[in-house]
Symmetry: D3
Subunit: 291 residues, 6 copies
Amino acid sequence: MQQYIDKAAVLVEALPYIRSFAGKTVVVKYGGAAMVAADLREAVMQDIVLMKFVGMNPVVVHGGGPEVSEMMKRLGKEPVFVDGLRVTDEETMAIAQMVLVGKTNKAIVAALNAQGGRAVGLSGHDGGLIRATRHLHRTRDGGYVDLGYVGDVAGIDTGVIASLIGAGFIPVIAPIGVGEDGHAYNINADTVAGELAAALGAEKLVLLTDVEGIRADPRDPRSKVSRITAAEIAQWLREGRLEGGMIPKVEACLRALAAGVPRVHIIDGRVPHALLLEIFTDEGIGTMVVR
Amino acid sequence: MQQYIDKAAVLVEALPYIRSFAGKTVVVKYGGAAMVAADLREAVMQDIVLMKFVGMNPVVVHGGGPEVSEMMKRLGKEPVFVDGLRVTDEETMAIAQMVLVGKTNKAIVAALNAQGGRAVGLSGHDGGLIRATRHLHRTRDGGYVDLGYVGDVAGIDTGVIASLIGAGFIPVIAPIGVGEDGHAYNINADTVAGELAAALGAEKLVLLTDVEGIRADPRDPRSKVSRITAAEIAQWLREGRLEGGMIPKVEACLRALAAGVPRVHIIDGRVPHALLLEIFTDEGIGTMVVR
Amino acid sequence: MQQYIDKAAVLVEALPYIRSFAGKTVVVKYGGAAMVAADLREAVMQDIVLMKFVGMNPVVVHGGGPEVSEMMKRLGKEPVFVDGLRVTDEETMAIAQMVLVGKTNKAIVAALNAQGGRAVGLSGHDGGLIRATRHLHRTRDGGYVDLGYVGDVAGIDTGVIASLIGAGFIPVIAPIGVGEDGHAYNINADTVAGELAAALGAEKLVLLTDVEGIRADPRDPRSKVSRITAAEIAQWLREGRLEGGMIPKVEACLRALAAGVPRVHIIDGRVPHALLLEIFTDEGIGTMVVR
Amino acid sequence: MQQYIDKAAVLVEALPYIRSFAGKTVVVKYGGAAMVAADLREAVMQDIVLMKFVGMNPVVVHGGGPEVSEMMKRLGKEPVFVDGLRVTDEETMAIAQMVLVGKTNKAIVAALNAQGGRAVGLSGHDGGLIRATRHLHRTRDGGYVDLGYVGDVAGIDTGVIASLIGAGFIPVIAPIGVGEDGHAYNINADTVAGELAAALGAEKLVLLTDVEGIRADPRDPRSKVSRITAAEIAQWLREGRLEGGMIPKVEACLRALAAGVPRVHIIDGRVPHALLLEIFTDEGIGTMVVR
Amino acid sequence: MQQYIDKAAVLVEALPYIRSFAGKTVVVKYGGAAMVAADLREAVMQDIVLMKFVGMNPVVVHGGGPEVSEMMKRLGKEPVFVDGLRVTDEETMAIAQMVLVGKTNKAIVAALNAQGGRAVGLSGHDGGLIRATRHLHRTRDGGYVDLGYVGDVAGIDTGVIASLIGAGFIPVIAPIGVGEDGHAYNINADTVAGELAAALGAEKLVLLTDVEGIRADPRDPRSKVSRITAAEIAQWLREGRLEGGMIPKVEACLRALAAGVPRVHIIDGRVPHALLLEIFTDEGIGTMVVR
Amino acid sequence: MQQYIDKAAVLVEALPYIRSFAGKTVVVKYGGAAMVAADLREAVMQDIVLMKFVGMNPVVVHGGGPEVSEMMKRLGKEPVFVDGLRVTDEETMAIAQMVLVGKTNKAIVAALNAQGGRAVGLSGHDGGLIRATRHLHRTRDGGYVDLGYVGDVAGIDTGVIASLIGAGFIPVIAPIGVGEDGHAYNINADTVAGELAAALGAEKLVLLTDVEGIRADPRDPRSKVSRITAAEIAQWLREGRLEGGMIPKVEACLRALAAGVPRVHIIDGRVPHALLLEIFTDEGIGTMVVR
C-alpha cells in the first residue's frame, strides 16, 4: 500500500508542472557525459519524448566535440584549440559537418525514435535556420585571433522548427550556421541553444552539463548554488569566478534571459533522468538562473 | 540519490500510458466511498484533473443515492426500494433531480475547479444529452413491476459533450434522462456511464466502487480476479456468482464492451488515487474486463 | 387576400430587425409572471428558440425566488428578507442552489428543448462562469448588514458560454456565483444578467418584468415612458422616483449600458410573446434604456 | 392587444419554416407580372433579401422576353416566334444578350441591393456556369426545326455560385449558356432554373408565374390544384391538359424533381409577397409539385 | 542545342518575377488596339490567364467606347463629347450599360475562358462594387459643366472581388458605378482601374494603351521615357506636356501611386504579349511610373 | 521585335504545363554529371527552385557514391562492389552515412537556398521517413549473397515530407533507411526515388542520368527512344537489352508506374536545364515511360 501512496505522490507532484508547461517550448542543450554513457543517453531520450507526450515542445541542440576530434585524427589531422575553441580550417569544417550532421545528429534522431518519439534532424542549413558570421576571438591580451570557420549566430529563421513542432515532431539541431558567403561555420552549441531559446520565445533553456550546477567556488563541488540571478552571474563573470567551459554556458544563459526566456537551468547530466526531475519535481536539480 | 531514482522510475513508467491515452476519452463512474470521505474525494478530483492535463478527455458520471434518501426523509417521505431500485413517484423524482443536479453535481464541479480543472455540470436535459424510456423491472418471479420514473437509456446525443471536450472542459453528468413525454427519469449511474462510454467511443470505462474488484466468490475478498473476459462475466451472471450492486456494474461493463469500448476497469475507490494508479502504472488496480 | 397582405406586412416589418441582429448576443432575464403562467411560459420559450433560429444568440438568466421560499418552508425554515434581499445562511444557500439549479433551471432547459431548441443549463460553478464576492448590504441608516451568502459579481469567465453558443446551444444560467473560498453565493438575477450582457458584449439586454415598463410615477401605470436615457434614470434614482424590485433592475441596466451594451429593454412579461414583439417590430413594448 | 397577438401569431407560424430552411438553397425563377409592376417587383426583392437574412440561400434566375423584343424593334428587327420560342439569328442573340445581361440582370441586382441585399449578376459565361447545346425543336408534325442560337442546358458548373453563396451574396442569373463553339445561346429561363436547382441540390424550386397555379382545366381559374405529383403531371402532359407557357414550366418541375429537388412550387406572382407567403406560412400559395 | 539554351534562358529569366509576384494582385486596364485586333486580343487573354496560373491575381478593367457610340448611332442617337468625355443622358447611359456589361464584358469573359481561365464578369452594381458620384467637369475656362450620368468613384467595396479571387476566378470589370440614387454612372475606365488598384492594395497597375509609353514630347514617338516619378508627372501635367487621353491615364497612375500601389506601367498594347513581357522579363516595355 | 516574339513564345508554350502541374508533386532523382559539374549543378538547382515557385512540389532524392568511396579510401578502406552494389560493413555504413547526410545532402540544401529556395535535408531517420529491410542480392548463378547494410525499402512514412511541403519547403532526401533493428541501411537512390514517388502519389518521377535516355541498343546512342511503355521495358529487361546502372533505374520506373505515378522521365543531366525543359516545353528531353 505504501508503494501505491509513494507512486501516487510522485504523479500528483508532477501535475502542476505538466499543466504549466503545456504547449510551451523548452530548448535542451544535450552534451557531456549524458551523450557518452549508454544508460544516461537512453534516460535523456526517454525524458525528451515524455516531455513531448505531455504536451511540451522540446527542441534539442547537441554538441559533439570528441567525435569530431577523433575523426580528424583518423584522417591524419591534429585538432588545435585556442582558449577551448577549435581552430577550424576548410578541411576541419568539412569533417566537423560530416560528423555532427551525418553521425551525431542522426544517432540522436534514431535514439529518440526508438523511444517512440518522432524526431527530425536539422542543421543550420535547413530552411535557412541559422545564419552565421565569422567569430572574432578576443585573446587574453586584448587582441583578436582568426580561428577560421568558427561562427557567431547572426540570425535565426524559426520557420522550419515551427512547422515541425506544429506537426508533432521533435527538432534536433546540429550547431552549424551558414554565412553570407554560403560557407558553413562551426558554432558553440551552448550559444546556439541560447539563441534558439530566445528566437523561439522558449519557456525554459536547459543545459545538460557534467557538473552539478554553478559553483560559488569553481573548485569546491559543495559550493553549488540552487538559484542565481542574471545580475549575480554578470558580477561573477567580471570577478573571474567562472572558468573554462562554464563561460559560454553562462553567456548563453544571459543571452536567453535578456531575450525574454524566463528561466534557464544548468543541470547535472550525470544524474539519470536529470531533465525529467528538473522539469517535473518541486525541488529541481542543479542551478536555476533567473532575471 | 535513491529518491531521485525512484521518482524518475515512476515518471518513466507512466510515459507509455500518457502516450497511448493522448486524446482518448475515459468515462469515470464516480461513487461510493470515494464520494464520501473528504481525502479520497480530493484525491479523485486531482486524478481527473491530471488526466485532463496530460491530454486525455475524462468524462465523469456520478451517482448520489444516499443524499437523495436523506432529503426525502427531511421532506417527510420514506424511500422505498425494490431489488435495490428506488421506487420513484412524481415527488421522489423532483427531489432526486434537485439533489443530484443542484447539489451533488455542483459539488463535484466545484471540487474539480478547485484542483485547477474547468468542469461543467450537465444532466440528461442539457443539449438533449440522455433520452430515457420507462424501465420495466423484472422481478425474481418473472413478472414486471412499475417503479415509476425509473428509466433506461434510450439514446445519447453526444453533441454537448463533444463541444465541451473540444473547448477544454471536463463534463460532469448527473444520471437523469428525459422521456419522450418530457418528463425526467432516474437512471442507474453505472448504466449511464456504460452507455456514454459506448456512445463516445471511449477508450476506457472506469467504475469506482467500494470493493477491491470482481470476486470469484462474492463473500471472499481474497478471491478478486485481476482480469476477466466478457464471456466469463456472462457465465458468472448466469451461474448467480455475482450479487447485489455488482450486477448493474457488470451489465454496464458488458454493454460498453459490446459497443466497442476496449477495456473496462472496476477499481477500489477506497485506495487513494486508485484512478491515477490504474491509468498510469503497469500493475493496475482492481479488475480489468476485456472482450 | 387581406389576410395575405397582413401576414406579409408582419414578415416584412421583421426583416430589418432580423438583419441587424444576425450573430448578435441578446441576454434575456427571465422571471416574474412569464415564469409562472403556463401559456406565457410557452410563449417566451418559443420566442427564445425563434431568436436562435433566425441567427441571434440568446442567453437566458433566470430567477426563481418563490420556489426557493416554498422549499424552505417545506423544510421547516422561515425565509427572512432585508430590503427585499433574502438572508442566506449556509442551509438556505444549499436549498436555494438545489432549487435554482436542480429544478428551475432544468425546467427551462426542458421547455426550450420541447420547442426545438438545444438548451444547456449552467450555474456560476460551470467552467468558472461567475465569481462572487460577499455582498455588503447598505441599510437606509447608512450602516452595513451581513446577509450571509448573498453575493456580488466579482468576475465573469465567458469561455463556457462562448463554446456553447459557437456549437449552436442556448445557455440558460442560474444566478449563483462561487467565491474565492469555493462557497456558492446567491446573486440577484437582474444583476447577473446585466454583468453577463456587459462581459459578452451583448447587443441587447432584455428584462422580462411584471410591469409595463418604467413609470415616471411608480404608482401610475399610465405614466410609463417608452424611452429613457441612463442619465435620466440616474437622476430618478437620486430623486427616489424608483422603488422596490425596480431598483436592482435599473441598476443592472446602468451597469450594462456603462459597459457598452447599446440598448436595454424593460418589458412586460405578462404580454404573450412580448420578447418577440420587442425584438422584431417597429413600435416595441415597454421601456428602452439607452446611453 | 389583438394587434400584438396577431403579429406574434404570424412570427410564431413562420418559426418552423425558418428552422427547416436554414442553410438550404432555394432557386427562384423570376418573371411575368412580378417583373413588370413596380410594387410587385419591390415586394419580390424584399422577399428574396428576407430569405437570405434568415439563413436561406436564394438563387434568382430571370427571363426578360418583352424587353428583348422591344429592343429588336427599336433596331429595326422583327421578332419571330415558333411555338413560343424565339427564332434567334446571330444578331438577335447579340441583342438578347445585351438586354438580358446588360439591362434586365443589372436592374434586378440593383433592386436587391436597394433592399439591403448583396446581389451579384451572372450569365452562363461567368465561371463557365452554363454550358449549352443547340436546341432541336420538335414541331407538332414530328419534324425538327432549327431556331438558331436557342439552347438546351448541357451542363452546369456551380463553382462560381457556391463561392458567392459562401461569401454571403445572392446570385442573379441571366438564362444564357455558352456552347462548345464559344457562342452564346438563349435558353428558356424556366429550364435554366430547373437545371440549376438540380445541380445545386436545392431544397426548393419556386416559379413565379402569372397564373394562380396549375389548373385541372386550363380555362377554368377555379380548377387550380394545391398539390400534384410528378406522375400526375406527366399524365396530364400526355393528355394534353397543359398548354402554352405552362409546358416548359412543368417540364422544369419534372426535371428538378427527378434530379432530387424535393419540392417545386408554381405560384402566382401577381399576389404581393407571394414568395414570402409560400415559404413562411402554413397554407402556402399556388401549386406544390412533389415526387 | 542552342534552341534549348535559349528556351531555358527565358524561363530562368522569368523565375525571380514569378517568385516576387506570387499571390500579388495586378490590375490590368484593357483597351485600345489590344481590344480590337483579334491576334492582339488573343495574346492579351493568354497573358492574363498565364498570370493567374503562375499564382498572381489579375483583375481586368475594360473600356469600350467605340462599341457604345456604334450602338447609339444604330438607335438613332448622335454621340456628343465634351473634352473627350461622353455627354450621357438617361438613354445614353442605358445604351452604354447594355453594351459594356451585356456585350463587351461578356466577350472578354468568354475569351479568357477559351484560354483556360475561369473569368467572372462584374459591373459596379455587383456586390456594391463601385459607388459613384456625379462628375463635375471643369472646362478650360474654369467653369463647370454637367455631363449627365458621368461619374467619379466615390467608394469601392472589394468584397465580391476578394471572394472570387479567393476561389480562383479572374474578375473582369465594366467601368460603371452606382450612385446614392441607385442610378448607374459611366466612369472612365482608367480611373476605375486606378481606384481598384488602390482599394485592392495591388502590387501593380498596368494600363494597355495605343502608344509606346509616356513621351517627353507628345508629338515625338522617339521621346518615350522608360521610367518616371510621380513628381515628374505632376510637373509635366502642370507644364501642359501631356495631352488628350493620356491625361486620365496619368491621373489614374498618380491616384494609384498615392494610395500605395508601388508601380504603375503604361505599356504598348500593339506589341503582342506586351503584358507578359512587361511582367516577366528584365527590360520591360513602355513606361514605369514610381513614387 | 523578333526577340520579343521569341521570348513571348517560350512563356506561352510553358503556360499549359504550369497549369497542369500546379500543386502536383514531382520526385527528382539527382545524380551523375549534373551533380559534379558546377554549371550543371547550378542549373539543376535553379530548375528545382523554379518548379517550387510556379506551384509544383519538387522532392529531391540524391545519390553520392563517388564521395563515399573517396572518403573510404582516405580512411584506409578499400571499396568493394558486387554487381555494382557496394559491400557495406558496419564501418562502411558509418562512413556512407556521414558523407551522404553530413556532406552531400547539406551541399544540395545550401545550393537550393542560394537560388532562393527553402530546402530542408532529410535522411530516412527523420520522422521515420524510410524503413528498410536487408537486401538479399541475387547473383547471376541464382544464389544469394549478403552485402551487409544494403537495404530495400520496407515502408515510407510521408508525414515529415507532407509537413515540410505544406509549409513551403523543398525536401532533399539522402537514400538511407532504418531497419527494425534501428540500424541504418544504404539503399539505391533510384529505388528510393521510385518508392517515394509511389508513396507521395507524385505526378511525375524524373531521373537525371548521364545518358540521353533509354536506348533500344545500349551501345548505340542514336537508338534512344522518346516514349516507351512499362510493358515494353519489362520485355526489354527479360531480353537483356538493358544493362548496368540502367537496370535499377528502369526498375524504379516500373515500381512507380505500378503504384500509380502517371509518368516517369529518364533524362540527360548533361544538358543544362534539362529538368526545366522536360517539364515546361512541348518536345521534352530523354525518354518518357508510361503505363
